[in-house]
């Protein structure tokens, strides 16, 4: 079985069929992109996978485990992490603290151990902090470490959120429009970063509008339109796909 298998997924809101019998797979080690015009259902799809929304029918298998119906925190514990299009960092906490929270599922100290400040928690905390700095450094935002996140620029916040997701050491990383708001150079940078992450063993599923990034780094692309999957293929073939072109550019006269 592939790392992520989406089988006949359906989700509607009243009369709107946001995700309509969508099926596709993501193999281990792959970078797969989901594209489609606005309103195609990409965000809903992500929310379904991450457990924020229950599906009306269909199944999602992650690492051979059925995850539709599971809660987000359970899915995260299985190794699936995500970033958000409109950044959801923890207010009132510094960049480093945000990333340290990413280590939550990789550490153990509980309520009692925390309250009593048991000695075995000290090295764990130190490790969490060190790892946190490591990931901040990887994303190039290490000097933001002790700054409260609402004082950071958008680009820096984006970096911190990335670092946080990476800190969970996910098997599959869901990236929600990672290039949103970035210029050409920054987008290229993000592309390099994503490829680097893939090289470290993380599988990537991303939603993105920036075609240059998508075509550049994706191994495969899934195209959605009005909730339905209209194509799933290599980037090169997607570019030639008539249906895809029609959906993006409209019909000729």
């Amino acid at each position: 079985m592939a790392l992520l298998e989406i089988q006949n997924l359906n989700r509607h809101f009243g009369g709107l069929h946001a995700v309509n019998s969508v099926s596709f797979t993501v193999e281990q080690g792959m970078i797969k992109a989901v594209i489609g015009p606005n309103g195609a259902g990409k965000t809903t799809l992500f929310n379904l996978i991450a457990g924020n929304l229950p599906a009306n029918s269909g199944a999602i298998y992650f690492n051979e485990t059925k995850i539709n119906g599971s809660k987000p925190y359970q899915i995260a514990r299985l190794g699936l992490s995500r970033t958000y299009q409109n950044i959801k960092l923890f207010h009132g906490m510094t960049a480093l603290e945000n990333v340290m929270l990413g280590r939550h599922i990789r550490s153990k100290a509980g309520f009692m151990a925390g309250m009593l400040n048991l000695p075995w928690t000290w090295p764990e905390e130190r490790l969490i902090r060190d790892k946190g700095m490591e990931y901040l450094d990887l994303l190039g935002v290490a000097d933001c470490a002790d700054i409260e996140i609402s004082n950071l620029s958008f680009g820096q916040q984006r970096g911190v959120e990335f670092a946080r997701a990476l800190a969970t050491e996910p098997t599959l990383l869901l990236l929600d429009e990672p290039a949103a708001g970035l210029n050409i150079y920054e987008t290229a940078e993000i592309g390099r970063l994503i490829t680097k992450i893939r090289e470290s063993g993380v599988t990537i599923l991303l939603v993105e509008h920036d075609m240059s990034l998508v075509m550049d780094i994706s191994d495969e692309i899934v195209v959605l339109s009005f909730g339905e999957k209209i194509a799933e293929d290599l980037p090169h073939n997607i570019q030639q796909n008539e249906e895809v072109i029609r959906v993006y550019l409209g019909d000729e006269g």
Partner: protein, 365 residues
């Protein structure tokens, strides 16, 4: 080392506590110790509530209910005479195990009551279990629904206390005996024990503060803050937010209950007003003023406001004062009084004027 830095304020607190006691000793004003002791216990409730509201992000308008559960159960168990039930299976079993205590009542009659340690444990455990039971459904609610549900809980406890003969109805419970914590250390209201009781109370505060400080700086504390910062993202990062919110709710309930037990033994009694809405509102007011996620702020405000209130400084306007405080703080300083940085405000005002000036001169040119 970070660790030591964290505990320095605690040492400072301890020093201040000792100094104040010595001062009252030498200025012959030891009567202040009584109110300071009471204030200490109320502050334990407050700092527990502070962590719940500030870090758990949950408002509780019924926390006096947990205080009352602790106090009333401890009071009732240690005063109600089981002598007539001596033959009953459960009672004789408890007696054999040593959990019951013989004593002589006011009128020379023999009493058979529950041992204070046992009563304390039962009371606190009950409060914890109740918090665990209602916490689940209550914490699923948000905003006004949550507030109202906690308010409703507090009212139900109040009504039960007021309506039950077992809990003394409107008169509450009195003649609650002292509580011997360890050999030689007794928690009671007798004059001779004033100084030792002062230290017992403040000892509890110090322990509570240490535990909470540890919690906040731990992995769990970080998770709690993340729930407060962005609950959905916290879930996405693997934090079981529902469970954490429940645990912190139970923890704060347990703090309140323990304080209730100790106050009841200290005062020798408890009344339904301790469960009332006004008490709950008072706790919330103090947390709001001190700054919701600020333990030290809550503690300081807890001591100051409770002390003043107990000394009768507010007179018949007692409830009104807390109402006013609530309104004013929420209107002007929702982050809490101690977060107001007047220097910061001045700087930003100056910066604002500067930019407006620049704009105006730009327009004129």
């Amino acid at each position: 080392m970070d660790l030591l830095k964290r505990y320095i304020p605690v040492l400072f607190l301890l020093t201040v506590v000792v100094i104040i006691q010595l001062v009252t000793h030498f200025t012959e004003t030891t009567y202040y110790l009584t109110q300071l002791t009471m204030s200490a216990y109320y502050s334990v409730v407050v700092i527990g509530l502070c962590v719940l509201m500030g870090y758990g992000g949950q408002i509780s308008l019924g926390h006096a209910g947990f205080f009352a559960i602790g106090g009333y159960l401890a009071g009732a168990l240690t005063t109600h005479n089981l002598l007539s039930l001596q033959e009953h299976g459960l009672v004789s079993l408890l007696d054999k195990v040593g959990l019951l205590v013989d004593s002589t009542g006011l009128y020379g009659d023999t009493l058979l009551t529950v041992q204070p340690w046992a009563a304390c444990i039962v009371a606190v455990l009950t409060a914890g279990v109740i918090a665990l039971a209602i916490g689940g459904p209550i914490l699923k609610l948000k905003g006004h629904y949550l507030a109202m549900a906690t308010l409703g809980f507090g009212i139900i406890i109040y009504r039960i206390a007021l309506a039950s003969a077992y809990f003394g109805e409107a008169d509450g419970i009195s003649q609650v005996p002292g509580f011997q914590l360890f050999p030689g250390v007794e928690l009671s209201g007798s004059f001779g024990a004033r100084v030792s009781n002062y230290y017992i109370a403040w000892g509890m505060v110090v322990v509570a503060v240490i535990l909470l400080l540890n919690l906040i700086h731990s992995r769990v504390g970080r998770a709690l803050r993340s729930i407060h910062g962005a609950e959905e993202a916290a879930n996405a990062m693997g934090v079981n937010t529902a469970r954490y919110k429940l645990y912190i709710f139970v923890l704060s309930a347990v703090f309140a209950a323990i304080a209730g037990v100790f106050v009841t033994h200290y005062n020798g009694g408890i009344g339904p007003s301790e469960a009332g809405v006004m008490k709950s509102v008072r706790y919330v007011a103090i947390v709001a003023v001190g700054g919701m996620a600020n333990i030290w702020g809550a503690l300081i405000m807890g001591i100051v406001l409770n002390f003043l209130s107990l000394r009768g400084v507010f007179g018949s306007y007692d409830d009104a004062v807390f109402g006013v405080i609530l309104v004013i703080i929420m209107l002007f300083a929702p982050e809490g009084i101690l977060k107001i940085n007047p220097w910061q405000k001045i700087k930003s005002l100056v910066a604002l004027y500067r930019t407006q000036d620049k704009e105006e001169s730009a327009i004129e040119n």
